[in-house]
Symmetry: C2
Subunit: 426 residues, 2 copies
């Protein structure tokens, strides 16, 4: 942990620079797997599942019995928790639906946008260290609300050939039936190009390591779109002297335990709070099961001491964190000055964890500075809006001359002619 005093610093761009990851090294490998899956379908999937997940599967699709077993394996307390989270996430995402509105821009010229669900979407749920069933919740609920007609889920099986029961349980509660036990680049390839078992989709969602990210970048060239560019998870906290340092430390640690490359930044206008938080981090770190990971992530952690909350906001808006906690007095007021962040947590009783799981907001958020220009996942991510226009004869009569004048000024006589012909026929 490095402590930086505001007054010393001129070049915030450099201080706040995220480590950049060069994917060129893995691109060749990823490209080869995608090509193989595209050409050889299930046979290629089987090959890479053996190689990387050490599992041999005849069928990738999860069967009814597996859902039944999973349901029985989940403890009632977790079921209750998932129900609460589902309810909140649903409520928050349902209000995002926007009705269609027709406007007459001129008499006889009607225009509107119709929101239409993306018909076929793919959701990737990573396995590895933590079984992220919450990610499935955060993708599946808006997909359902948008009304996507085909929702395909891929997740890597364990060495026993099974998926984590919580993932299956969440899938069942969301009535997602096409769950495939496929992970890694081969899963992205399967959903992008389709195989004998796995249907192809139009847009692929979900977090993942740098191989998944690279695969998602590559398939875009073939017309499949993706949720957002991904990087390591991030948290920035602004805390003032009134903040409880135990809370601040626990928030920083909850981010640090995600992965060794997690980004953690504390900005404060209180040198005292900075000191107290550092001590608390040490105390709490010792009790953490994922201590090793968190310790590595904390090495790159920065504590920035500023003069006042305004300076803090300047720096935080420049950094554009995925998650931002404002643990201070007047947090709601200060929150109005946030212009670059994925999700913001206001006050002392809004830890990042609540947004990760159950407050209702989506936890799939822009990282790596993309919060400057990207939103987190929402119902909109599973929709596109198709424009419509309908002109009556009199509508074209009113508008025609303008279209002809502009088309001719752009040197596009064919465009002008398509209007002129119609006007002449009236």
């Amino acid at each position: 942990m490095e402590t930086i005093k505001y007054s010393k610093i001129l070049d915030w761009g450099t201080i706040l620079k995220r480590p950049s990851y060069d994917a060129t090294g893995i691109e060749k490998k990823v490209r080869a797997i995608l090509k193989d899956v595209r050409q050889n379908g299930d046979a290629a999937i089987r090959k890479y599942s053996m190689k990387y997940d050490h599992v041999e599967l005849d069928n990738f699709l999860v069967k009814k019995e597996e859902f039944d077993l999973a349901r029985k394996a989940i403890l009632p307390a977790l079921k209750q928790a998932i129900e609460t989270a589902t309810g909140n996430v649903r409520k928050f995402h349902k209000i995002q639906s926007v009705p269609q509105r027709i406007i007459e821009t001129m008499p006889g010229v009607s225009c509107w946008q119709r929101p239409v669900a993306i018909q076929r979407v793919g959701l990737y749920v990573p396995g590895g260290g933590a079984p992220l069933f919450s990610s499935l919740l955060m993708m599946g609920i808006p997909a359902r609300i948008a009304g996507c007609s085909e929702i395909v889920v891929c997740s890597p099986p364990g060495a026993d050939g099974k998926l984590n029961p919580a993932i299956l349980y969440v899938a069942e509660t969301l009535e997602l039936k096409k769950i495939y036990k496929i992970g890694g680049v081969q899963a992205i390839g399967a959903m992008a190009y389709g195989t004998e078992s796995v249907p192809s989709v139009f847009k692929i969602f979900g977090p993942g390591n740098q191989f998944i990210t690279c695969a998602k970048q590559l398939i875009q060239r073939d017309g499949i779109s993706i949720d957002m560019p991904a990087g390591p998870s991030e948290l920035a906290v602004f805390a003032d002297k009134f903040a409880d340092e135990r809370f601040v430390a626990s928030d920083l640690l909850s981010q640090a335990e995600h992965g060794r490359d997690s980004q953690v930044i504390l900005v404060t206008d209180s040198a005292g709070l900075a000191k107290r938080t550092k001590i608390q981090i040490q105390i709490q770190l010792d009790k953490l099961p994922r201590k090793k990971i968190a310790t590595k992530a904390l090495r790159a952690c920065k504590i920035i001491i500023v003069k006042n909350p305004d300076q803090a906001l300047q720096i935080l808006n420049l950094y554009a964190p995925e998650h931002l906690i404002l643990n201070c007095r007047n947090a709601a007021e200060l929150g109005r000055s946030v212009v670059n962040a994925g999700s913001v947590f206001l006050g002392g009783y809004s830890p990042e964890s609540v947004g990760d799981y159950a407050s209702g907001t989506n936890h799939t958020l822009p990282t790596n500075g993309f919060a400057r220009s990207w939103s987190g996942l929402s119902v909109d991510s599973f929709l596109k809006k198709i424009s419509f226009q309908r002109l009556s004869k009199s509508g074209l009569e009113s508008l025609g001359a303008s279209v002809i004048a502009m088309a001719e000024a752009e040197g596009l006589q064919g465009h002008a002619e398509s209007v002129r012909l119609r006007l002449a026929s009236l």
Copy 2:
């Protein structure tokens, strides 16, 4: 033009396949220019402006006098047309603004999304054959409505070192002041990384050739986002026997004149209409100033004869065209079955040209099949939505147990601890 009868065809995927473009050949060149601009700023811009636009400029920024001259050069009819178009596009885009809505997902758990303009955006207006001032209109208006605080425009100057007056006139009417006479890959690099003259931006918009497209793909790796993946422009028309073949032919030609790689498809349930349209195309083609370009584009044009409108819609939804004209009876009703398209034109008096310029809808639309999962440009493209949540003590008391249960099930004790600590303090 190839005519295909529905009954003969099994593999629509192959028939509708767009030509794919391999950018690997140009990527090296584009990468080198971007790197040079990033390292050497204005000096690099100057070098490439000389090399590719054959122009030597001391200052890239358009001066007040240039705006004055441009204003005087525009004929009153074009001024009137631009005013009409601006009014309609503004009206259609203004209704896209969504108000912020706070929801209590549980007592004491408040969540909302705040739409915030992307602070700094860059708009690229291509030069070349046609001076596309309409593109500036279609990007500038939603950027203004969203409230972007810095809007940078780049466009390649002619050999005389000047921009087309219509581009400057549109810029002035939209109160866009930072117009730079820079084109090509160097313009994308300047806006992405900033130079002594040109401010860096967070998101870059605008059409362009394959070099521009490649540059836009590459800068994304450095955290700058782009409007959408671009490909050649496309039009599909469905026409029945009641359609006027002169109108149908003129629409197909207006798309074909865009560029040699333009995609044009006619789907019809009337062999007679197909025949009549072919004849009309030949007649109208001869009068077209851009005949050469249109002729090349028409070589790849497909005429598909189907059994009925339902089959037409199946094919069209599979193809997912950028522009779709339904020139038939009951167009509005048929339009309800469109699920994959960028912008749809209903009836005989709604040629694509009206949407290109002045009906009010945006003409920046998804191509290359991306209409399956992308929307056209809208006010949303210039915004991001930041999530907020605020929990009261009692809110955390209600929600805490669920968060702890889910965090523990995902093996993230640090996440659980950040809630537990707070609950213990209450």
